[in-house]
Symmetry: C2
Subunit: 407 residues, 2 copies
């Protein structure tokens, strides 16, 4: 496999092209295609416009080995994906009788006779398509052979889409998965240089570096080298990245922290001022977090720092809420309250207002409690309010990760 096969993703729905909804489906599918060693060359969101969708489908199915479409498979007249695919591939729609039967019980629940015909359109599939029966929801998925490879039509709701995508990728694309080294606390270009230095002139290993705020991912692909060589180079790149690298299987930083704490059977807690609940929210996003994460206090107001965490009012008065002293007192307080062995605290100025020459917007003090004692770190982050909050959250989670690794 000298180069990876091309893939494209189309998400269908007017809500996507108006900014009302972030295209999380597209990103999730992109990530899954990457893990199957496919090279996603474009992602497209289109409004409910049948001509436009058909034109894109005709173009991409000739060009890409895999084209994935989500959305537009429901029962209303806005659901245009079946008809657009039929036009693009010049293949008629035929009714899938197995699917039709399962829809009968749904029709029985509707009062309006005309609802029946709408609902039954969900059983229409492209002639010759492999039908993926829904495990939840009503619309089936479809796998259709195309001039360039295969077209996969999936429903839009993530919990309907997800099992069908996994089933498709599991049977169709058993490629070597790439190695995904995720890091925080390193720039994109430094990560690129480090990885390139290791790879050198080695043949058959592809490299991509991806960056989000405070989160850099080095992805190594098998482009002919074979799995043992890919793993050998992956281990060397990980060593070169050093302790900024927090996972080698694509796990997020919060997942890594929860996994480390569960493995060590220790408890976690947090006291948050400027991050305002984002650390707790990131940890509780992870299923199984309750085995390690006790909770914490969002002490946005100074009174709450005193009343819930025991930060002395005189300390706040003397050093300010954004200070080394307050960060340490917050983390000590939340660790005592929750009996957690590992805790982190944040207090800073997220902006846009509240900055001074001495304490600018972006300044954050972190407190860290571990079984070895209390410490603190000062950082200045750039960016707007959202950027400062995201970077401070990642930094706090990384403090927990490093402390857990050392324990």
């Amino acid at each position: 496999m000298p180069a990876r096969p091309h893939a494209a993703i189309i998400t269908v729905g007017t809500e996507l092209v108006t900014g009302q909804r972030l295209d999380t489906n597209g990103a999730e599918i992109a990530s899954a295609l990457l893990a199957s060693n496919l090279d996603v060359v474009e992602m497209l969101s289109v409004a409910d416009d049948i001509d436009r969708l058909a034109a894109h489908l005709a173009r991409l199915t000739g060009d890409c080995a895999v084209v994935v479409v989500t959305g537009g498979l429901g029962p209303t007249h806005d659901d245009i994906t079946r008809e657009a695919a039929s036009r693009a591939l010049k293949r008629p729609l035929v009714r899938a009788h197995e699917i039709e039967k399962t829809l009968a019980s749904i029709i029985a629940r509707h009062r309006e006779p005309e609802a029946a015909e709408h609902i039954l359109t969900q059983a229409d599939v492209l002639d010759g398509a492999d039908v993926i029966a829904p495990t939840t929801g009503t619309a089936p998925g479809q796998i259709v052979q195309t001039p360039g490879g295969v077209l996969l039509l999936l429903p839009g709701p993530p919990r309907e889409m997800r099992p069908m995508l996994a089933s498709f990728l599991g049977t169709t694309c058993p490629a070597t998965p790439p190695i995904r080294l995720r890091s925080t606390g390193i720039t994109e270009s430094d990560a690129q240089i480090a990885a390139q230095r290791v790879i050198g002139d080695a043949q058959g290993v592809g490299l991509t570096v991806l960056a989000a705020p405070a989160d850099v991912e080095v992805v190594l692909f098998d482009e002919g080298a074979g799995l043992p060589e890919l793993e050998r180079i992956g281990a060397l790149v990980r060593a070169e990245l050093g302790d900024v690298c927090y996972s080698s299987d694509g796990s997020s930083l919060a997942e890594t922290v929860v996994m480390l704490a569960r493995r060590r059977r220790v408890r976690l807690a947090c006291a948050e001022s400027c991050t305002g609940g984002k650390i707790a929210s990131a940890l509780t996003d992870i299923a199984g977090a309750s085995e390690a994460f006790q909770g914490g206090v969002v002490s946005y107001a100074n009174e709450l720092k005193t009343d819930a965490l025991g930060v002395p009012a005189e300390m706040l008065e003397r050093f300010g809420a954004v200070s080394d002293e307050t960060a340490r007192a917050m983390v000590t307080g939340v660790a005592a309250l929750t009996h957690a062995e590992f805790a982190v605290a944040t207090t800073g100025i997220a902006g846009p207002d509240g900055g001074t020459a001495e304490k600018p917007v972006g300044l954050v003090w972190f407190g860290l409690q571990t079984p070895s004692g209390v410490s603190s770190v000062r950082r200045e982050f750039f960016g707007d309010r959202a950027g400062v909050r995201t970077r401070a959250t990642m930094f706090a989670l990384d403090l927990l990760r490093r402390a857990l690794m050392e324990s």
Copy 2:
């Protein structure tokens, strides 16, 4: 203006087509174009592939009145947008001398002589383009006349992109902004039916209904009716939607809650179990939240419900953490701790594990404290862990909104 002019958005960068980064720029631009009465027909993310980008630019600039591109304007060889636009529009690149001058100070900071030429490429603009000087960052924006209208090239970093987009839209698209009625607690189809019933056969008013989890937006466009008629119909649709409608200017639910609390000069707090910090995080995302939001407790573990919020251990033992009694005790506890006049509490089963026949995954109890007293509500939400947490967060914020409206 019988129909709205078409627009398209292209975001450039390999990190977007691998699922590493959500395309928040695209969504933000889409929302701004919608507010300028433009009809976004497609949004596209492409990898750093010059031929593919040039082909899309050639296609879309012939087809759309406004094409916005972000990303790919930096100094590295991955930054392909200038060259791709030059090819697509068959216009040479020329160096903008004003921009070149401002880059000189940046070059002085680099050690490698070859860095200079890379950095100076950022001053290359399409011949005849209007240059938008950067207020932050180094790459200028460009406004280029095209066969179909105008092409706008913007840098990728949001804080560089944002002021340039606002400046462009402010001068180029002074259209009637649409009316954006946002609601929670109503289905997309019920909102559609309610709006359509009001609009009836009225001419010159466009309607789009957009849906995200627990968040439905009815957008009314001026398609010839004129502003007074649009506003008259907007008021009628809002009345028809009733108290599920929380804003008519596109503000988010968290923004609405913070605004209401600030206006009434009251304090807010929250005690979160299953939402795990998402309510606090949503409120503190809003600049100025500190004037109303005191903070709260993320009482994930039962011990913390007792130790920080004063929920009696016998109560947890007898009724369970997910119960009417616990929700009430949690909200009473957090209101007492924070001295907030309005507080909300959540305790539920987000899944995927922990559900029983009596207390299934998706069950959430809410506690609400207001100056009139304490109340509670039971809800069952469908969806996966992320969906349940999002819907519970929206519901809790809406409890606060309704309580504030009544006060």
